[in-house]
């Protein structure tokens, strides 16, 4: 067996046999699902709270419009004086007091309504209240002008734009959110992968250095071979983990589709049928699943693999060089900036720019720059990227991977035999000339 294969095998086994790896592989999907359920649960928990809002209405016409909802109970305090009402709200620790004064004209009234509260009130509650009052006042204005409310109501038009591409495929508005979700999730996962597996490579380099086994090994193999073996072996462990997750995910998807009973192919008939159906939860989920199935899942998985491997190679060679340069993991902190900065940049550009405008200049440029391209391009791909852009991006990525491995190899070669030196960037630059 060639030495590279031996090294890859050893690294792979060392990673996979590690207890953390096993736990992470099977526990993290559970943790992920758990987190989502927790967040959902916490959100509903917050909404369950019923707030009591006191109403002091001098006009005496609004009370009937404020109907108790799930979140808010309205209490009529109009029989008290304003000061009594305020005191009572404070004493009873109510959420707040809405004061509607009696002004002659609606225009003046609209600007003199007040909400008294201990703390700044929830914006959505204020919006609700404003909407109720505005609609009431608008209707009053219509009536004053002698317009028939029923006529107005009947002439109101409701618009819902149907989205369809040029080849005649219909999609729902949900599709964009689905794309955002898949792109964002892929980009975010990639970042996590790079950080987790890059760190593994770095730790493995440091381990060999601090174990002092390194000199024994490089008297048998070339340092670059060892570095590549390490990066490859660790990446296979990563791919195995990813494959396990994809299989688990696929099983979940199949279970979900069979539970909600739709065919795993989006057919026009199915869509029409579903559109005729009543709006309900079941149908929403069905649409969502159809949108997911309509995504270029194959392309998505393949490009994820390409950019995963590419991004991983690029960054893990930097990680390997850092591992070789330092004596312990604590010393590695000072070199983390060139890794974390572009990763964060990629994520931020992805979340703020790609979602806003997937084909804008910023998104396009950052999906070409090698250090950010894996993340940004992955986020763009669900929205449909011209193939030549992907080709250029991959071409640039591969080029910079080769350059980075060469560079890292030089630092690695010198670094692994250096002990007790705290290297600076200047020192690393000098090593390149050795």
């Amino acid at each position: 067996m060639s030495n590279l294969k031996l090294i890859i095998k050893r690294e792979f086994i060392a990673r996979v046999r590690n207890k953390t790896f096993v736990v992470m592989t099977f526990l993290s999907p559970l943790i992920f699902v758990g987190m989502i359920s927790l967040i959902t649960w916490l959100a509903t928990l917050n909404n369950d709270e019923v707030r009591e809002v006191a109403l002091f209405d001098e006009t005496g016409t609004f009370m009937s419009d404020f109907k108790d909802s799930d979140n808010i109970d309205y209490i009529d305090y109009s029989s008290l004086t304003l000061n009594e009402a305020k005191d009572s709200v404070v004493a009873k620790k109510l959420y707040g007091l809405l004061y509607i004064p009696n002004k002659g004209s609606n225009r003046v009234l609209a600007e003199s309504i007040q909400f008294y509260a201990e703390e700044a009130p929830n914006i959505s509650i204020l919006n609700d209240i404003e909407e109720i009052i505005a609609s009431k006042l608008t209707n009053q204005n219509f009536e004053e002008k002698g317009l028939d409310l029923n006529v107005i109501e009947n002439s109101r038009a409701k618009v819902s734009i149907q989205i369809e591409n040029f080849s005649g495929e219909k999609t729902s508005k949900m599709a964009n959110y689905v794309k955002m979700f898949f792109g964002g999730a892929a980009g975010y996962f990639l970042m996590m992968f790079i950080i987790i597996y890059g760190n593994m490579v770095m730790r493995s380099v440091i381990e060999e250095k601090s174990n002092r086994i390194i000199e024994i090994i490089i008297s048998s193999v070339k340092p670059l071979q060892l570095m590549m073996g390490k990066i490859l072996g660790t990446s296979f462990a990563g791919i195995l983990q990813f494959a396990i997750w994809v299989i688990l995910g696929a099983v979940l998807l199949v279970v979900a589709t069979s539970v909600f009973g739709i065919e795993p192919q989006p057919t026009g008939v199915g869509l029409e049928q579903s559109m005729m159906m009543q709006e309900n939860n079941q149908e929403e989920i069905q649409l969502l699943l159809q949108d997911i199935l309509k995504l270029p899942l194959g392309t998505l998985v393949i490009s994820f693999l390409i950019y995963f491997i590419g991004g991983y190679f690029l960054y893990s060679s930097i990680y390997a060089a850092i591992g070789a340069a330092v004596d312990s993991e604590t010393d590695s902190q000072q070199f983390m900036l060139p890794i974390i900065l572009p990763l964060m940049l990629g994520i931020y550009v992805g979340f703020f720019s790609v979602i806003e405008n997937p084909h804008g200049t910023v998104s396009t440029v950052f999906s070409m720059i090698p250090l950010t391209s894996p993340i940004v391009m992955l986020m763009r791909i669900p929205f449909g990227v011209p193939w030549w852009e992907v080709v250029i991006s991959i071409f640039l990525l591969v080029g910079s991977i080769i350059f980075m491995i060469w560079l890292a190899g030089k630092i690695y070669k010198v670094g692994i035999l250096m002990y007790g030196k705290k290297p600076s960037y200047k020192e690393l630059f000098k090593w390149l000339r050795y």
Binding site: N211, I213, I216
Partner: protein
């Protein structure tokens, strides 16, 4: 005698620092070659060049009359000074791994490992992790891995550090046996008594230059100063001392004796032979001790380095 290894004019620079300057050594086949020098002299750099870990900027290395090439890796066994093993990997697994990296097949490696593990009585360590073993135990495993592929050239850098005297002796005997079976050994250490005991050739490197090389006996001959230690029994110590002082270069000596005797170190000039001195002394007193002072490698080391400063 043919040379197994020849290093010719090897120079290595790291930035502005010259680690090795035009160093040449010749290691005869079947010899135990001591590579000596103070810390930082460039020994490790030279060893790493021989192991093809670093490439020399100038100069060339020949192994068995062939220019050193990657295939020679399996002809060399190297036990570095800074050595260790994977802590969380099992002893047997990593011995197999390291042996396979040296080009042995898995089957071959297993058979040979079994032989050595039996010989050192460590077979029960096979499934233990290194972190469960003591330092000396780990060193044994490293020693086995170094010699397992039966290399022509063995390089030991401080091989005895970490061993207790009993195990150090076991290792020393193994090294001697490997030499007898035809291996050539390069031996780098600061423990001069083991150099004295084992090496037949030495090279001394100081400040990145080689300052001495040759057969140990030749070097000693070169460094001896024609000085003799003598013990004399006489009634008149002071008188004899004065007589000798007039005729020879005399200094008081210090060695252990049973009787109270006159102990002297006498250095002869080129024209006087030891027989002439002995005849002269035997006429004046009873000679109870007469031996030539041969410099130890330790003394040669210190003398050469201090003169070189």
């Amino acid at each position: 005698m043919a040379n197994l290894l020849e290093v010719q004019q090897a120079t290595k620079r790291f930035g502005d620092f010259t680690a090795l300057q035009e160093v040449s050594i010749r290691v005869p086949k079947g010899s135990i070659f001591g590579l000596l020098g103070p810390n930082g002299a460039g020994k490790t750099t030279l060893i790493r060049i021989i192991n093809q870990i670093t490439l020399p900027d100038q100069g060339s290395v020949y192994l068995d009359n062939e220019l050193l090439k990657p295939e020679h890796i399996k002809d060399i066994g190297y036990l570095p000074e800074e050595r260790g093993l994977y802590k969380s990997m099992k002893v047997g697994e990593q011995a197999l791994y390291l042996a396979q990296l040296k080009g042995l097949s898995k089957k071959e490696a297993k058979e040979r490992l079994k032989y050595w593990f039996d010989k050192f009585e460590i077979t029960h360590w096979w499934n233990k992790k290194i972190q469960e073993l003591s330092k000396g135990m780990a060193q044994k495993v490293q020693f086995i891995v170094t010699i397992l592929h039966r290399p022509k050239l063995l390089i030991f850098d401080e091989p005895f550090s970490g061993f207790d005297p009993i195990n150090a002796n076991v290792i020393k005997d193994e090294i001697l046996q490997l030499r007898d079976e035809g291996a050539t050994v390069i031996f780098s250490t600061h423990r001069m008594e083991s150099v004295e005991e084992l090496c037949d050739h030495i090279a001394l490197i100081n400040k990145s230059k080689k300052i001495l090389e040759g057969k140990v006996s030749d070097i000693k001959r070169e460094f001896k100063s024609n000085t003799f230690e003598v013990g004399l029994l006489t009634e008149n110590s002071n008188g004899l001392y004065d007589t000798l002082k007039d005729k020879f270069n005399v200094a008081p000596a210090d060695f252990k004796t049973i009787d109270d005797q006159l102990k002297l170190k006498i250095t002869l000039d080129q024209n006087t032979s030891s027989n002439q001195l002995l005849t002269f002394l035997s006429e004046k007193a009873q000679v109870v001790r007469f031996n030539e002072v041969i410099p130890s490698i330790n003394e040669i080391f210190i003398k050469t380095i201090t003169e070189n400063e």
